[in-house]
């Protein structure tokens, strides 16, 4: 009997196309049964990473290990890795059933076993009534499920998904996301999932690896990625609306924004220099009256009502724009508003290296 899941390890993997470095010395280890999400803007190398794990793309240097064995030495019997592609890549000449069956048939899985597995998968994915249709006769969401199903019937140890939800309607996406989560809970395969959608990443991942320019910027749980981003890039990439980043100075326990101390903490021991201060919009404490003399006095420039929350664009006298999210709607455009910042909910980044300095304490 096959083991249900396998570990994946990338050791100092680099990938170059002609002279362009796509992946630069990447180390990554995925635990057995883990749901890892590779998240990043397009062109950051996340798909290439996935294709290298799949063995579709060779590495320029370094090693890809599956269960501590080099991928190159691994005799792929078709049961190790399954993959779902963004455009689904269903065989257009085969029906849904045949699409699921084809790989099993080629690898001589016994007929009865084959039928059982396909039957189960079709039922799980609600595809039974479409089993005799050709891919061209299916909707986007159905195609996506067939593509996932084709991976599932293989009962592989590793399941790779390359932006599987980006081509389907927003309404369906949430449902498909839940389905994927359930599948993972049931099958406990090792999953590597590529996406550029942070919501998807936050919802699905046990851990998220945020990538940019061929380098993993941070790999951690969704909570840590959101609350303690390792650097400015991660902070900016995760969260909508985007985190507010302002240039501040530090002096004698005071964080100073445009000459005004906004956060004071006598316990702080930092070098006196410039920093980037990051405050997520929901951590901007907005109020109609001044709560403390450290509050920023801002003018409401724009109000966007999303129903669930209200997004405010705020400007100060120096032209600085900040975004804030509030739940109650009692503000009007051009009104004055007072915003307090708290140390506990703000992030401080090194001005040069963009690294999170965790207020001087290493976590």
């Amino acid at each position: 009997m096959n083991k249900k899941n396998a570990t994946i390890e990338l050791k100092n993997v680099s990938k170059q196309f002609k002279k362009n470095t796509i992946i630069d010395g990447m180390d990554l280890s995925v635990k057995a049964g883990e749901f890892l999400v590779l998240l990043g803007p397009s062109g950051c190398g996340k798909s290439t990473t996935l294709r290298m794990i799949a063995g579709l793309e060779g590495v320029t240097s370094g090693q890809v290990m599956i269960d501590h064995r080099d991928l190159k030495e691994l005799k792929n019997d078709g049961h190790t890795i399954a993959m779902v592609f963004q455009d689904y890549a269903l065989y257009p000449n085969m029906t849904v059933y045949q699409n699921l069956e084809y790989a099993l048939k080629v690898h001589k899985v016994a007929k009865e076993e084959r039928q059982n597995r396909i039957k189960n998968v079709l039922e799980t994915l609600n595809l039974t009534k479409y089993k005799d249709r050709l891919p061209s006769q299916l909707s986007g969401g159905q195609k996506q499920r067939v593509a996932v199903g084709r991976g599932m019937v293989k009962k592989s140890e590793i399941f790779l998904l390359d932006e599987p939800l980006s081509n389907i309607d927003v309404q369906l996406r949430e449902k498909a996301r839940d389905e994927l989560q359930n599948l993972h809970a049931t099958n406990q395969q090792t999953i590597v999932y590529v996406t550029h959608d942070q919501l998807e990443a936050m919802a699905l991942g046990d851990r998220i690896a945020v990538m940019d320019q061929g380098i993993i910027q941070m790999i951690d749980t969704p909570e840590n990625i959101y609350n303690n981003p390792a650097n400015l890039f991660v902070a900016k990439f995760i969260g909508t609306p985007q985190i507010n980043i302002v240039e501040v100075d530090y002096k004698d326990g005071n964080i100073i924004l445009n000459g005004q101390p906004v956060i004071t903490d006598s316990a702080l021991k930092l070098k006196e220099q410039k920093y980037h201060l990051g405050i997520r919009p929901e951590n901007m404490l907005c109020s109609e009256v001044r709560q403390s003399n450290q509050d920023l006095e801002l003018t409401i420039e724009k109000i966007i009502d999303y129903g669930r929350f209200v997004q405010l664009s705020l400007v100060d006298n120096n032209g600085l724009t900040l975004k804030a999210i509030v739940n109650t709607f009692e503000f009007k455009i051009d009104e004055k508003i007072f915003v307090g910042l708290k140390r506990a909910t703000s992030l401080l980044f090194n001005y040069e290296t963009d690294k999170n300095i965790y207020w001087g304490n290493k976590l």
Binding site: A54, F85, A89, Y102
Partner: protein, 271 residues
Amino acid sequence: MLKKINLWHVLLIMLVLGAVVPILFMISNSFKTLRDSYTTMLNLIPIHPTVNNYLLLNKQINLLGLTWNTFFMATIVTIGKLLTGLLTAYAFRSYQFKGKIIIYLLFVATIFVPFTIVMIPNYLVISKLGLLNNILGVALPQLCDATGIMIFLKTMEKIPNTLIDAAKIDDIPNRKIFFNIVIPILKPSIVSVGAIFFINSWNEYVWPTLILKDKASFTLPLALQNYISSEGGTNFPLAMALSTIMVILPLIIYLIFQKYILNSISNSGLK
């Protein structure tokens, strides 16, 4: 606006007539007596319709044998061209190797080499192989065609890479990817290109004349030549009857192929 459309219609009708009239002329004369064919050659309806021409033709030459020869040759050539074309195109599509572009360009360049240039070298090779007077001798130098390679490669390039990748992840061997996935997707272009190959080969005249000297090995176009040349070409209705027979199969293939290609474009399933 209306006037414009009418003018177009007139032009189209003239073009259709230009294509159809010779065929009707051929068919109608094949049913005329020798005398009528001289006196009323341009009449589309024969005055004394007769099938004697066909019966006489059947007595004079081995119609079935000739048709079989032609069919056999055209089939071998078509299958050969399709198979080599598809395999070569797949190699160009799927494998990265040194000098790929140069080799491809060399292949394509052969399209521009006129047949007359390779005719004599080919003849010498075939004669050394002892394949004169043999249908295989006609077919052998034609088993590969760069036009097919080019068309198939262009079609294969439209197959998304992920489809091949998906098969590779499933660890499907290349041979099966080729036969079970690529070939079915390419079916429409295989059928249309194949039909053109077949009809071209069916109608071929110059190269078979060089190789086939024995009347038993003749193809239909060669036999037809005997009825319109100085050797015995005075019986005009007889030549028209043979022409009619010769045109039947390509016409059927063309009709089927036309219907197929219209359906296949919309059902290719890739979009």
